[in-house]
Symmetry: C2
Subunit: 325 residues, 2 copies
Amino acid sequence: MIELIKDATRPNPKSISDACQRLVIGIGDDTAAWHGSPRVQLATTDSLVENVHFTFESSTWQDLGHKSLAVNLSDIAAMGGRALYALVSLTCPGSVDSVCITDFYRGMTQLAAKHGVVIVGGNMSASSEVTANVFVVGEAISNTLLRRSSAQASDLIAVTGSLGGAAAAVAALKSTATGDIAIPQALMQALLRPEPRLATAHVLVAEGVQCAIDISDGLVADLGHICECSNVNATIQASQIPVNPECHEVAPDPLGCALYGGEDYELLFTCNAATYERVAARLDVTPTIIGEIMDTRTSSRGVVVVDAEGRTLTPGSTGWKHFGI
Amino acid sequence: MIELIKDATRPNPKSISDACQRLVIGIGDDTAAWHGSPRVQLATTDSLVENVHFTFESSTWQDLGHKSLAVNLSDIAAMGGRALYALVSLTCPGSVDSVCITDFYRGMTQLAAKHGVVIVGGNMSASSEVTANVFVVGEAISNTLLRRSSAQASDLIAVTGSLGGAAAAVAALKSTATGDIAIPQALMQALLRPEPRLATAHVLVAEGVQCAIDISDGLVADLGHICECSNVNATIQASQIPVNPECHEVAPDPLGCALYGGEDYELLFTCNAATYERVAARLDVTPTIIGEIMDTRTSSRGVVVVDAEGRTLTPGSTGWKHFGI
């Protein structure tokens, strides 16, 4: 099995990524090893658990490999870093075919290669349900880290891409157990194959942005984390939220999906207007201004969502609910 | 919950460990961050799964916290490095009390503090069974890594401490479902609270040892990994194996526990006689010479176990079998 995994995860021998160049020992010894650098190092871990975060009714093993790495790369993006190495702990029933396991690693390796990441280790264990635990190590690309604690009053709040797609797909999957509604491909893509915004993050850092988070728990919940860490409040305009247009096809409450649904893995960042102009001119993915950071002395507590007339909208929920919880 | 975990994992504010000094961001942002170094970096991950690697009938949550970190620190030791940071993915049923979770992190933090390691991140998720996935980053302490591939013909083979204790404890637990045999404390300690041999590893590196592995799969299986990676064979003397003396109290086959049982987390290393003498004089834990590395041109394939008369003993098994497999 280790030989199959080594094959499935082998980086392209022509790769000239920094991670490949610095690698000393990959899969096969007690630990992985690579040449260090004086840069600030980053590390994160995230797990996807069967029947909690995904089911094999809607997800393939390749999708699982992709997504379990993507959610970690998204965390590295949210700090403004680049990713270098991934280690993978996969637990699954002994009855799972080796083809599924290699598919899992192939899906992961495809995404890894795209971002210059090398899969350097991990382990497999028996368990009653499938759990993919991925750890990613990366490093800062400059002296700036995009921290949750760096938002300042009067900063603009912006997000990349569109929101709500993953949540709409989950809602549609739940309501179509009988398979009678076709779920738009774009929504399934948002749920199963999120694209970590690493290139976007590097533009943010280069242009002087200091505060960002990736939207994994949901827009309102994640912006709430920024408010808490930065000791500020936030007002967002419901009418400005870039709702994934496909949400309207299947979701009774598309705005709710965008505000409270999670797993979009877009970046939310805050900065002043001049910085925003420079960022927007350079980004490969369209950003949208959705609101403003408020001083705690002159605003309500936490995140307030207002409609086009300035009236406060009451949240229907406080973040993403996973499949099985 | 995150606040409880932050409390349980907070390093002693008086700690002057390198990991504490270099930490930039711990638990609470998208990733952990610390100041890098030009040294060779090491990373490893390992999982403990309920009913496969442990049960709560014999293990407490503190034991689980200790062991799930210890097995990773042991991998860092086996490379001759020092450990710096740990990230933890814990999955468990939603019904688990928060006291259990903080106990888990307390058990882990006690061991971490002993080795100057800081717990800097992780995540929690619902699941039907408890799985502790730990990821540890460390770095080399010199230019030498203890590789599986560095064994040379005519090297002595040595192990630290005693072997078979964890396997004897597992065997005794299985045969005492009715609780009518007292299992010696030393064996339970070997199973539940293994001590990673980091200090020992640093002596090995300082004295010029080049090849080591930690005994997690079992002595014969792990020595087999060295043979494969180094393209050598090995002969070990059954009579020289340092069998944990307590094994004789409960195990019908103490030697079998020491040869084929796993999870001892002692170090096996190979080196020439002069190096061994220097190492043995400095080690805090008694090493024992158990055999010799053989040239493939003049020996049988893989690992051969011989008795005091030089007769080959046939292996009864090829490594550690976990609880549930």
